[in-house]
Symmetry: C2
Subunit: 233 residues, 2 copies
Amino acid sequence: MSKANKAVVLLSGGLDSTTVLAEAVAGGFEVYALTVLYGQRHAVELAAARRAAAAYGVARHAEVEVNLASFGGSALTGAGIIPKDRTDEAIAAGIPVTYVPARNTVMLSLALAWAEALGTFDIFIGVNCVDYSGYPDCRPQFLRAFETLANLATKAGVEGSKRFAIHTPLLLLNKEEIIRRGLALGVDYGLTHSCYDPDRSGKSCGRCDSCRIRLAAFQRVGIVDPVEYLERP
Amino acid sequence: MSKANKAVVLLSGGLDSTTVLAEAVAGGFEVYALTVLYGQRHAVELAAARRAAAAYGVARHAEVEVNLASFGGSALTGAGIIPKDRTDEAIAAGIPVTYVPARNTVMLSLALAWAEALGTFDIFIGVNCVDYSGYPDCRPQFLRAFETLANLATKAGVEGSKRFAIHTPLLLLNKEEIIRRGLALGVDYGLTHSCYDPDRSGKSCGRCDSCRIRLAAFQRVGIVDPVEYLERP
């Protein structure tokens, strides 16, 4: 009989969220994986999320569609051009065009809705604010503000003695440290997908910011990234 | 040439949100109305939202689906029984079963996403915390916490000098005062829909909490509620 605590884990199928899934499982949680389909360009990510959810035998994997693309404002959901071959300095400067307005707020809100319905107070998200992030909704102050909000927003937060916790095990790790942590937990990074602009077969481009950051981190770890690339710089 | 400020107005088609729409229009905003289809039981509400959006000639009316019903946890989105014929005291006590986990957090998050994509900082929502509310996500402290979050969560909040504002013109009004305010603004309440459990033709039941609160308020105002009821108590 399982008496494990439940946790909602936001799972995109990327390197970070799959590592977080492994963390939650290692922490003894019964995992409810939530994939938010917000109008990303590619189904490749969803396939990766399904692979990871299956590999870890989650209690349930919910896929919730919410079409942020209809609002516009991001190269990741729209017709904008995904930047390629940028230098480390260019990647590190400013908020990228792949920023999706209020994405993490929307995703955490949905995770909160599910957590409250499940009667659990634990939510995991794979944000980090060290390497190249530039995303405002990956910063510690944003995550603290969401935790405050969660406890004010909900019946569970108001009536109970328990508090919602937004778990961010990767928050202060750089990409190399995340990979090392995941490898220690036995993560198969061949399951994951990070590229912003894969080809039709799902192969990663090797040239967008996400591929460059990932490839450089694997190089520093000293192992070959197991996913397939169209080209490796 | 319109130089009006844009505002995102959350519009359910109910009495409150339609009044808020009228407030935003009266305030000179160019309105972007957002209806969130979160798995409510009835299409009647959506029809009312469309009527209101058309009546006020909004710049755009977006209907975004996000299936909170798949998470469970509410009589309003699930198979639970909608309470009928409750006394004022019973209605006022505790958080009702029609509470939808994290609903306003999800709806405000989506409004924030659209506002940021539009380049505006003004969001209107028709919450109020006076009469019978009991909903944690209608309280002033929740709304202040969301405003704080919005400014931390977004590129617009971080980079610009403007701050997001969550406008809640009904927050401290009771239902009677809301109706009086709306009538002064010329709202046609015949457009709106409030019932939790209408029949197939869209007629209101007259017996759920929402109908009872609405009917009592119209009685206090001293006019007949223009919507059709199956029965009036």
